[in-house]
């Protein structure tokens, strides 16, 4: 029982970080119907940037989150204009292939720069933990969770309260109407993609403190992120966050009892979703997306 609760706690902490990674995926899907397979490799890219900031410049990853987000935002906007905007026909399918190519391109570039050996951002508090009610909570995981929640909070605030946020939501829910009201869908898409990539990298910066990574790690990660958006319902950020928490808990608990099969639990959930609710938890009603 104790172990079970402990698994749930760790699962929620990790789920928060996954939620940040996956919410960017959902946002991008919602705005432009692009399934960004490169989301996971951008997480790893963020991990490497934080790793470099830490080992070379001795900047704490949690401080590096902000500059990394800004740089990766610009990177994302660039990727949008270079590779995604030109896809006019059959975007839903082609974008999967194009973003996959981008993913392996980035993977290759990371391999060139950092080699393929495993790295880890080993901060001074990386091995610390503290006790709450008999549970050993690792410090980094708590920090990572808190940072993820903070960023998600900012993102939600931006989406709810600002002009840009309204435009992003409008473009998601009814692109034609948004265009009629003067929203430049292209610009909004570029910004949305930039935000998606920068949240991925921000999550990556803290992810690299928890786990070891190499350029290849994005394969495992993208499987997890995609499972999350399938469960949450494509294009729903709220769904993605809730799904990340659910899956984080399930995977952590499975990990405690059967460590080898933890990743399988993600896909097991996908099968259940397919059987009972193909549109996911928060699938947007059909007419809203047309």
């Amino acid at each position: 029982m104790h172990l079970l609760i402990y698994g749930c706690i760790l699962g929620i902490l990790l789920g928060g970080v996954y939620g940040l990674m996956a919410s960017g995926l959902a946002l991008v899907w919602g705005i432009m119907r692009v399934l960004n397979i490169a989301q996971a490799v951008c997480v790893i890219l963020g991990s490497y940037l934080a790793f470099t900031a830490f080992t070379v410049l001795h900047v704490d990853p949690m401080l590096a989150v902000l500059p990394i987000s800004v740089v990766m935002f610009v990177f994302g906007v660039g990727i949008y204009y270079a590779f995604l905007r030109p896809i006019r026909r059959d975007r839903e399918s082609l974008s999967i292939l194009v973003t996959y190519a981008i993913a392996i391109g980035i993977e290759g570039a990371l391999g060139l720069i950092y080699t393929t050996s495993l790295q880890h951002t080993g901060t001074s508090y990386a091995t610390q933990s503290f006790e709450v009610g008999g549970f050993q909570i690792p410090t980094v995981e708590l920090y990572a969770f808190l940072i993820s929640v903070a960023i998600l909070g900012l993102l939600a605030l931006m989406l709810q309260r600002t002009r840009l946020g309204r435009a992003l939501r409008a473009a998601t829910q009814n692109p034609t109407a948004a265009r009629l009201l003067g929203v430049d869908i292209d610009r909004v898409s570029a910004v949305g993609f930039g935000i998606g990539i920068s949240t991925a990298a921000a999550a990556g910066a803290v992810y690299g403190m928890i786990y070891s990574f190499n350029p290849n790690s994005h394969y495992d990660l993208i499987g997890i992120l995609l499972a999350i958006v399938v469960l949450g319902g494509f294009g729903s950020m709220r769904g993605a966050i809730v799904a990340a928490l659910i899956l984080g808990v399930i995977a952590s608990v499975v990990f405690i009892y059967w460590p080898l099969w933890a990743n399988l639990s993600f896909f097991g959930v996908v099968v259940v979703v397919l059987l009972f609710r193909p549109q996911g938890l928060w699938g947007v009603p059909n007419w809203a997306t047309q």
């Binding site: 999967i96 190519a101 290759g108």
Partner: protein, 337 residues
């Protein structure tokens, strides 16, 4: 036989005659080896095209069935003494049929969703298969992989039997592809690609049609996997079910022309040697990935429809212009043939 099918038959016979002659003309190991991989990718691409090209579903789990076929043969090897040379080739037939049948319930589950969701879920199939291959080490040998006895073929022409077996497989899958495209069944698949809801509304039994295409794709892919396993004699999960191989198959199909009969074959013949060459010279390194990504993007942006449709369009326009210039009393169709 109509004029078009006769021309098509002649083309097919010509190509297969050349392919049949190849290992007897060029006996260098490396040439036959690369040609074997060319054929293998052609089989995989033609099979993928059944569901990915004809029906327009981005099916990312194909390579899981390649791995399944590979493991099926390798595991059979562990328990049944099949070592006598050509017998494993024949074992591929029941394996392929079994895989095709096994894939049907999976198809029924997966085909509940479409488009991007289908792509994601099918990618999940690949990841799940990989996890099983790694973790069921009692059966698959886990990360250490699974070996088979070395095939007892003459060293000088070692690759030849595998090459010829793969050629037979290619002929079979191409026959299926051709037959499907020509039949009412093919029309149904095209209808699904155009507008699935409308097709269903018009009474096309969309599920049946998709499931059959799916099962054929999986069965042939599995047979190719089994043959590959026997050829390289030792399989590891990360090679038997490599996502990069999956996307390579798709890239080949797109390059040649998805939804066409010969496109996937052409794409495979163009890219498989390049893939082997770069894997050899760049050794699966970072450069290899970058080159692969660049090639992928080039194809996607500059040849999204593929070589075959583009060339066919060009020729058609050229002929039409020629017909107009000739402006004789004969209808254009006569000259085309």
């Amino acid at each position: 036989m109509s004029r078009a099918t006769k021309a098509g038959a002649i083309r097919a016979i010509l190509v297969f005659a050349l392919l049949l002659a190849l290992p007897f003309v060029f006996t260098d190991h490396w040439i036959v080896n690369i040609a074997f991989f060319g054929l293998m990718f052609a089989v995989l691409a033609v099979a993928w095209n059944l569901i990915g090209g004809y029906a327009g579903y981005i099916w990312l789990g194909s390579i899981a069935f390649f791995g399944l076929g590979a493991y099926a043969l390798a595991i059979t090897f562990q328990h049944v003494p099949l070592t006598s040379g050509y017998l494993p080739f024949f074992a591929l037939i029941p394996i392929g049929i079994a895989i095709g049948i096994v894939s049907i319930p999976l198809a029924l589950l997966l085909l509940r969703v479409r488009a991007a969701t289908f792509a994601v879920v099918s990618l999940a199939v690949l990841f799940v298969a990989e996890i099983f291959a790694f973790n069921l080490d009692g059966l698959t040998g886990g990360p250490q992989g699974l070996g088979m006895a070395l095939p007892p073929f003459v060293v000088t022409t070692f690759e030849r039997p595998f090459y010829l077996a793969m050629l037979v497989l290619l002929a079979a899958v191409m026959f299926c592809s051709w037959y499907l495209a020509k039949s009412k069944f093919g029309l149904m698949l095209f209808a699904i690609k155009g507008d699935e809801d409308r097709a269903r509304g018009l009474g096309v039994r969309t599920t049946t049609v998709k499931v059959i295409a799916f099962a054929l794709c999986c069965g042939f892919t599995g047979m190719a996997g089994g043959l590959w396993a026997y050829y390289i004699t030792w399989i590891y999960p990360q090679f038997a079910m490599d996502p990069n191989t999956m996307f390579a198959i798709i890239l080949m199909t797109y390059l040649g022309g998805k939804g066409t009969l010969w496109g996937p074959v052409l794409g495979a013949f163009l890219l498989a040697p390049a893939k082997e060459y770069f894997a050899y010279t760049l050794g699966g390194s970072a450069f290899y990935l970058i080159a692969y990504a660049a090639l992928f993007l080039l194809v996607m942006f500059f040849l999204p429809r593929g070589v075959v449709p583009t060339v066919a369009d060009f020729l058609a326009r050229h002929r039409r212009r020629a017909a107009v210039l000739a402006s004789g009393p004969r209808p254009a169709g006569e000259q085309v043939a």
